[in-house]
Amino acid sequence: MASYTVREAFAAFRRAPLLTGLSAAMIALSLFVVGLFGVAAHNIRVVLDRIEARVEVVAYLHDDATPDQIQALQAEIRTIAQVRDVLYISRRQAVELARQQLSGFEGILSDLDTNPFPASLEVTLQPGQRNADAVHRVADRVRGYPFVEDVRYGQDWLDKVYLLRRVAGAAAIVVGGAFAAVAALIIGAAIRLAIFARREEIAIMRLVGATDWFIRRPFLLEGLITGLLGGLLALPATYGVYYFLSDAVVELEWMPGTWVVLGVLGGALFGTYASARAVRNHLQDV
């Protein structure tokens, strides 16, 4: 019985190669667009991750804080769950850093009578704890300690980065969902066409006592193969566009392997699901 299912599914491709090719092309087109969006979403994520990795809270200390007091403060900040490390930058180290980072202004820094840079504690956060809320919470807590004069963490741009991330996330869900829905509709329509073309065969199957499950199986396999084929066609097309853009316009990263596998399997799943729906509706109608 399994051999019948496989034979009939492949026979359907032989009988209507144009329809099968068209269905696979439609699925490929939908998945191609979803794939391009996937590349864009992945690269937005990569950029945001890079920015996020640089998020830190800097606590500027009063000049009269003693080394013992600073050590005690360092130890206390380390006990905060979100904190990964606390690095002490003395006033002398601060001016050295300024000299390195502000090349060309060495003269101005040398002319100063006194060191204007305060000592500071650079607080780095645990990965996953660098979102705006967590940073705000840590900054507020650090600000409450004695000897801390001011706390800076680039609040404005941090808020913007996280707003951008939220917008990108929402866009991914909305646009990705819309394309997925369009893909499902296209696959469903293609399979309905295939079922319509074989309505007489289905009627005869029922006539001779085929169960609904027996009738469905070749169509499900056909949907799965068509979906898989569409996914495999979409893959080189998406990679081609990625390669061109990465080479000629802006350097991009290719999607993670799991996304690619999920995309291709998603095509197969869509094909099977759309086919199952179309056959079920047809069998209910006849």
């Binding site: 019985m1 006539l207 001779v208 006592g209």
Partner: protein, 228 residues
């Protein structure tokens, strides 16, 4: 084997197709269902095949109320009922042998069993030499023989035939009728719906049920049926 009890069938658009029809058919009986076009002949066959259900009354086949059957049970019942149509309903892109094999494949029969049985069935209907022919390469009578072979594939206890000779010439009609008679002689009950009065006249001894506007107006052997 078949029992109609006060069966009424109404369609939402066409109205009543059958009105309070009652009859019984015994195992191995040969029955003509006759009447003019629209008399309800096809409706009777569809109700027996569980393709439709009565609006009122009860249809029982082999003791099962067709309305009570699940989808799977309906499929199993249909394997024991062969069905032949006026327009043959063969798959045009498959050979005669493949059309017959189709009815066996749905039951999950093994390929070796299918091959043997298809050969035997095509020989039985006189088409062993045309096993590889497509329906388009066969005459009307030959196509109907393929349809009969397909209907017999699962050793049915009942064969339903809806105007099976309607598209055939006189000679082919006689051949198909003789085939039905032979099948019946082997123990399969046959219900043959036809408005061909000539065919019925030449079939002495067969039971005749006549329908008119959805009502059963004549039953040639009512007492025999009741005895079953």
């Amino acid at each position: 084997m078949i029992r109609f009890d006060d069966v009424t069938k109404e369609y939402s658009r066409a109205g009543a197709a059958l009105s309070e029809v009652s009859f019984r058919v015994r195992k191995g009986e040969f029955v003509f269902v006759t009447g003019h076009s629209g008399a309800g002949k096809t409706t009777v066959l569809r109700l027996i095949h569980a393709a439709d259900h009565p609006t009122e009354g009860q249809v029982k086949v082999s003791g099962f109320d067709t309305r009570e059957l699940s989808a799977r049970e309906t499929a199993m019942l249909r394997r024991k009922i062969g069905y032949v149509f006026q327009d043959f309903r063969l798959l045009p892109d498959r050979s005669a042998a493949e059309n017959v094999a189709f009815a066996l494949e749905v039951t999950g029969a093994r390929q070796s069993v299918i091959r043997t049985k298809v050969g035997r069935l095509l020989a039985q209907v006189g088409l062993a030499a045309k096993a590889r022919s497509l329906p388009s390469e066969l005459s009307g009578g030959e196509q109907q023989r393929v349809a009969v072979a397909r209907a017999l594939a699962n050793d049915p206890v009942l064969l339903l035939a809806d105007e099976p000779t309607g598209n055939l010439d006189e000679r082919a009609t006689r051949g198909i009728y003789d085939l039905f008679r032979a099948i019946n002689a082997a123990g399969t009950a046959v219900l043959l719906a036809t408005h061909d009065a000539e065919l019925i006249r030449h079939s002495s001894g067969a039971r005749v049920l006549e329908l008119d506007h959805g009502s059963l107006v004549y039953d040639s052997h009512p007492d025999e049926a009741e005895a079953d």
